[in-house]
């Protein structure tokens, strides 16, 4: 409260001073002229001083004169697995973010990912940046579900990584270009199930393709379209719609929780999420392109 009173009185004093300068004696022009001169000079002086002394934008420079930051304790010990006298050389980060792949195969994608800066950082990382990516599973290709007006993002290869106990702890999500000649390490996402439970080795979705078709049949009374098969796709769920309460949605999604796209005999496409629920496309809060 003392701070407020101090500030209030200071502002009041300044306002009173300003008011007397501007108004002066009623009907006299000189105080106004003087005020203009003073204000003009101040503005010019501030500008010139700022220009010559320190580059910057409009305003008063931050002083930055407070107490120095307290040095933090050293980071927890990290065992470097490359780049030391007793370990192999670290991968050389590729220039740019896109890394050519020798073929459109899981093995080639994994090899390319290992050339990425993200992978290199995981090997040598410090502090809050050291996911363990030492136990890769086989990369899986996933297409984004495209709907009219929907946000388009690249198709991906998802590379699961296991913990020492065999559970799945991280996913590397790699964008793949349209011609499938290069990938880009895009994201390293948590591998645990959204409820915080460990995810079993190899499990992108606990729902099998046949179970997805059965779910549509049971829940929607719609059979699988003749000659069609369920396909694994990832769906871009608009988190903002959920956070702002515009829609109610709980099912996990994204490349790490792909849906089954089940073509129905009624001509509609259905989506079966990782909880086994079947939805019409129109019922899913898919993000629209802005």
């Amino acid at each position: 409260m003392a701070r407020d009173q101090q500030n209030t009185s200071r502002l009041q004093r300044r306002f009173a001073r300003f008011r007397s300068l501007v108004l002066g004696s009623a009907g006299k022009s000189m105080p106004l002229v003087l005020t203009t001169l003073i204000v003009g000079s101040i503005v010019a002086a501030i500008a010139i001083i700022s220009y010559s002394g320190r580059s910057g934008g409009v305003g008063t420079p931050g002083s930055g004169t407070g107490p120095s930051a307290t040095p933090a304790p050293a980071s927890p010990a990290v065992t470097l697995s490359c780049g030391t006298a007793t370990t192999p050389a670290c991968p050389t980060p590729s220039s740019g973010n896109w890394i050519p792949i020798s073929s459109d195969t899981p093995a080639a994608v994994l090899a390319a990912f290992k050339q990425s800066g993200m992978y290199a950082a995981s090997l040598t990382g410090k502090g809050d940046g050291s996911p363990d990516l030492s136990r890769p599973e086989t990369p899986v290709f996933e297409r984004e579900l495209h709907i009219p007006g929907g946000l388009i993002v690249p198709d991906v290869y998802v590379i699961p990584f296991d913990a020492a106990d065999g559970s799945l702890t991280w996913f590397a999500i790699c964008n793949i270009n349209a011609t499938h000649t290069a990938i880009e390490a895009g994201e390293i996402a948590p591998g645990a199930l959204p409820n915080g439970q460990p995810r079993p080795h190899g499990q992108l979705t606990p729902v099998a393709a046949s179970a997805a078709a059965a779910a549509v049949h049971v829940q929607r009374n719609i059979a699988l379209r003749a000659g069609a098969q369920p396909a694994l796709v990832f769906v871009v769920i608009d988190a903002t719609l959920i956070e702002t309460g515009q829609v109610k949605w709980t099912a996990p999604a994204g490349p790490q929780n792909p849906f089954w796209l089940v073509p129905g005999a009624d001509g509609h496409d259905y989506l079966v999420d990782t909880t086994g629920q079947a939805h019409l496309e129109s019922e899913v809060p898919i993000e629209k392109a802005s």
Binding site: R14, S29, G66, A120
Partner: protein, 343 residues
């Protein structure tokens, strides 16, 4: 008005115009961007890109466990991230966390802070007043009619509840601060990210970034970069480490609050949170109908919109302004480091 007075008036107006012109130019051509003083750098350069940011995963979890996750359809993200930021700062300074999970006899930080936000006096309310009361979480600390807490609120919460001798401010970046012509959107976002990373480099502590057009806030706990953010613009950032209050922290391998994104995800495609729901991150400017610009004070107008904003620790404590620049009401130009005196 006599001849002398007319001459003085002309001179005054000339000075005014010249000074104003120089200021409006923003001194763009000769700027060397600087957002915060450099004191502590946590980095490693063995083998890959260098880490700039929080030095301990254990502390990141400790700062947020039992407090996060926010309910998925709640507007607690600003309070949740500010809590994590100041708790980490305390741990980083060998102090007790100011906002532990059992804060205020078990009430918990989010409940206690939102209750405090119902006060209609300073410092909860800015020295310009408060925006139209929108909801309980935002309370009276907002200067914008925000769906949750706006960036001023987050800066205030961080400053008000942090350990002693800590200062936090909102930083704003719009391309006009650094360029004569507009770069493409990803470049703009990467420029802003570089400036935000300077706060990470300076203090080795997480910062609060407002994402998804302002609809959500996350902690950025660090970046990996091939060039030092403080010495390059934009820096060659390879990866950002995100701590998301929508996720559940854990000391084991089941932490769903932590993910990493490339600059392309951060600025072009967006990324996926622990549930796999899509975040736009910094692919879009701040601002939407639920997260508007300030409606009271000197920042009324296009302040956050058309750019990017984050809240970070700094050492701006001068009393050259009134109130002193320590006051969390002030926003700073992320490029120049100057207090912003207008939107």
């Amino acid at each position: 008005m006599g001849q002398f007075e007319r001459r003085v008036t002309k001179l005054s107006l000339a000075l005014l115009l010249a000074g104003g012109g120089l200021i409006s130019m923003g001194f763009q051509t000769s700027q060397t961007a600087h957002a915060a003083p450099v004191h502590v750098s946590h980095s490693s350069s063995v083998g890959g890109p260098t880490w700039y940011g929080a030095g301990s995963t254990t502390w990141m979890v400790e700062a947020t466990i039992g407090i996060w996750p926010q309910p998925s359809s709640s507007n607690y993200c600003g309070v949740e991230t500010a809590t994590g930021m100041v708790n980490y700062d305390a741990l980083n300074s060998s102090a007790s966390m100011p906002l532990p999970a059992n804060y205020r006899n078990g009430q918990g930080p989010v409940s206690a802070i939102t209750a405090d936000n119902q006060s209609q006096s300073s410092p909860t309310v800015s020295h310009w007043g408060h925006a139209t009361y929108t909801n309980y979480t935002g309370g009276y600390s907002n200067i914008a009619a925000d769906f949750g807490t706006d960036p001023r609120s987050v800066a205030y919460v961080a400053w008000n509840y942090s350990i002693n001798n800590r200062w936090y401010h909102d930083y704003v970046y719009r391309w006009q601060f650094a360029s004569a012509t507009a770069p493409d959107m990803p470049t703009q976002a990467l420029d802003a990210t570089t400036l935000m990373a300077r706060g990470l480099e300076a203090f080795g502590e997480p910062v609060v970034a407002f994402i998804n057009s302002g609809a959500h806030a996350v902690l950025v706990s660090g970046v990996y970069s091939y060039s030092g953010p403080n010495n390059s613009f934009p820096a060659q950032i390879d990866e950002l480490s995100i701590r998301d209050p929508m996720g559940t922290p854990s000391y084991s391998g089941t932490d769903t609050s932590h993910f990493f994104v490339s600059p392309d995800q951060w600025t072009r495609y967006g990324g996926n949170n622990g549930l796999g729901w899509h975040y736009d991150l910094w692919t879009q400017y701040y601002g939407n109908s639920k997260d508007p610009d300030p409606s009271v004070g000197i920042y009324s107008g296009a302040h956050w919109s058309g750019g990017y904003t984050w809240v970070q620790r700094d050492n701006n404590t001068s009393n050259a302004t009134s109130p002193g620049e320590w006051d969390p009401d002030w926003a700073f130009n992320g490029y120049s480091g100057y207090i912003m005196m207008n939107p």
